[in-house]
Symmetry: C2
Subunit: 225 residues, 2 copies
Amino acid sequence: MEMGEFHRAGRSQEIMLDARSDQLVFLADGATKLVIQMPDGGEQVLSFHFAGDMVHVPQRAGDRLRLVALDDCRTISFSTNDFLDVAEDDPKVLRTILARALMALQHSRNKAIRLGRKAAHERIADFLLAMADRIGVRDGTDIRIELPMSRRDIGHSLGLTIETVSRQFTELRDSHLIATSGRSLVWLHDLDKLSVRAGHVSDKEIESKNCATSNKDLASPTMVG
Amino acid sequence: MEMGEFHRAGRSQEIMLDARSDQLVFLADGATKLVIQMPDGGEQVLSFHFAGDMVHVPQRAGDRLRLVALDDCRTISFSTNDFLDVAEDDPKVLRTILARALMALQHSRNKAIRLGRKAAHERIADFLLAMADRIGVRDGTDIRIELPMSRRDIGHSLGLTIETVSRQFTELRDSHLIATSGRSLVWLHDLDKLSVRAGHVSDKEIESKNCATSNKDLASPTMVG
DNA sequence: CGTGCATTTGATAGCTATCAAAGAAGGTGG
DNA sequence: CCACCTTCTTTGATAGCTATCAAATGCACG
């Protein structure tokens, strides 16, 4: 088997993969999006990935699927079969890969849940909470997020237009649930209210929560990408 | 490790799983749906499954996720960890499981693609093509499908209301692309035109196809469930 | 400091959800 | 075998939401 292939890519550069076989890509650093080009010219973002993530890129859809860097990033990619051939000696590795695949499946299912419910404000709130989980950092009582993706990417990920995404951000800003600065900085002021807006929990659940369990226990379907 | 648990279930009965751990369910016979109960009372169908399918039901969402029989079916379920503990001796089994998980991931991604694009007629056409792939049988020049799920299930799967699903069926019937009988029988008259309506291929691609490759070669993202 | 691109804002049209009611389908008991 | 009854499906009218089209503003970069 060959060694994995190392790649570096800058903002909006495609990460070129061997189209001759299924690929397993490990993202060492940075952020990427997996996009599919639709016949009508549109684009759909299937998932976002961050440092440490594993991405499976099937061969079948080769020419239509693209892995694109959202910022400077480094990757190592393998042919899935080659990788598994080697991993057969070590069941632990296989199980790790399987666990990651099942996690990716959960994320994808959660994405489907989001897209299946139509309200734009729910999708945006859910997206922000998912990003907070993934790349958010505490900043006083807020959660600060530096979004590596554009409004367009967000829209393509959530099945919304860029204008609708923007309007939802504005609405969240007017409601004092978030603050923004520039294109990429977002502060989440109130995770509870965002959870309500995301449709994860009802108002009542939030009320009772204040005197009981932590937010983590009530965690609902969130997702990355 | 314990042996897998056998289950039988009839139409709309829930298949009870051990909530103490992730479960791997093998569907020996029949059809099932994996549904999640939303806080607002709504339901979202994550996937449909048929004889031979493997379903992964994560523990985390235990009380909200339900595996429900669409007709008489038999299943064997295992704790994922227990199953993998045994499978470690046999890398082939692990790889098979992994391959199935990656396939489920592809299906889920394709579902996300469907839901991400808003047009109801595209979702319905895509759904019918996916079902044709899965459980369709040739019937002269048609493909005949016996749908085990209700219009409500279809709607919950596609993020549409039951009324919209019904209207789309009516429209396809009026366009002579399909015929129906009773609640569950559907005949697909023209896969090419359905592919166009599903947004898989453009009109031009269909025209050129008639003197070149088979439909399979042009296969686009379709999915099961 | 200007230039190009991303984002925001506004007005309108189209699509789907919702509400309401009629019409089939399949199952049950007489 | 038929009438009934429940449930599912179909059809219709309306309101609400989001896409689309158009234009202005803001941001980042050279």
